[in-house]
């Protein structure tokens, strides 16, 4: 039997086909900013090891206008990544049971968001304490 001739469509510009694809790509792209932020922190810690001079240079850099802009960008990237990732988190967790009750996906999502809010608040309190 001869194979039927078929037409295969191209995937060019696939992300334009649905907003969900663009949101997905944005979530993945935020990882780059988060990676850069980790490098920035690493640089700060290395500077701390190297001595006061190096640390002052690092502080001046992060407090400059581009440094502040980068931090705002990182905050936005972290928030978007966390929000979208926690929405998908229930998909990665095996169905949980507490006795006879099933823990729903909504509950997992809310618990993750709550933990995120708590961890962020604790960090802010600790940072505020350090600044005083």
């Amino acid at each position: 039997m001869t194979a039927l001739r078929t037409h295969t469509r191209s995937m060019k510009g696939w992300w334009r086909r649905h907003p969900a694809y663009r949101q997905y790509l944005l979530r993945e792209a935020t990882s780059v900013v988060i990676g850069l932020y980790a490098l920035c922190l690493l640089w700060g810690m290395t500077a701390l090891l190297l001595g006061p001079g190096a640390h002052d240079v690092w502080r001046a850099c992060v407090q400059s206008l581009p440094g502040r802009a980068f931090h705002l960008l990182a905050l936005a990237a972290f928030s978007w990544h966390a929000w979208t990732w926690f929405r998908l988190l229930p998909l990665t967790v095996a169905p949980l049971r507490l006795g006879r009750y099933r823990i729903t996906q909504t509950l997992v999502h809310r618990a993750a968001l709550g933990a995120w809010a708590l961890a962020s608040a604790a960090l802010l309190v600790a940072a505020a304490g350090g600044l005083r």
């Binding site: 086909r17 969900a20 998909l91 990665t92 099933r102 996906q105």
Partner: protein
Amino acid sequence: MSDPRIIVMECLRYHPERDTEPYHQRFEVPFTPEMSVLEGLQYIKDHLDGSLTFRWSCRMAVCGNCGCMVNGEPVLSCQTFLRDYHPECVRVEPLDHFPIQRDLAVDPADFLDKLQQVAPYLIPAQDRIPEDGPYRQTPEQMQDYLDTSACINCLLCYAACPQYGLKADFLGPAVLALAHRYNADSRDAGRARRMEVMNGDAGVWGCTLVGRCSEVCPKGVDPAGAINRNKPAAALDTLRRLLQSGRTCTP
């Protein structure tokens, strides 16, 4: 009853013996509020152009045959209603990411080949004969796989998954969800056999959690969940194999 209203249905056409490229053709279809997109296509075939090709069977969201893209969304055309699109035009295209055989009919051969690879059936630990009696399973055990067993092989999840479109060898959402369906069944002992495929190059790691497959599934199967819940097991399997190969290799 008032006269039927008219909706423009724009269908993708492709006849391999005649066309080098697909193109869109517009049809004006009279419709009533209860008419589905599938019934619109049937009207075109019966009254306007008998050569329009599309698949369907049950007309009640059970057989999984009538999947197509309606205004860019993968849907079952038998449970999508023309009234929801009027007065805009409704654009009907074959499911994304599959080769077009003819008009709205795609070639599902790739899916069927991949489905076979995961042995989508019960593999009991011991062979049984009818005299052994029925399998026993508690309602809780049944809950572990019930959602995934609702799959009707409609392929909407494949049309929603860009990774399947980009990586031809990726097993894709429904195949992996069906592998999970049997792995999660207390009567099954085929997990190790399926793991070879699920943890292979085309398996669960091909999923990057776009998550659209679960959104479009008309049966609430949640293939993205099924795939990602198998990633820890797949990682453990890799670790186990690494340890075993470490133990067997000679210095």
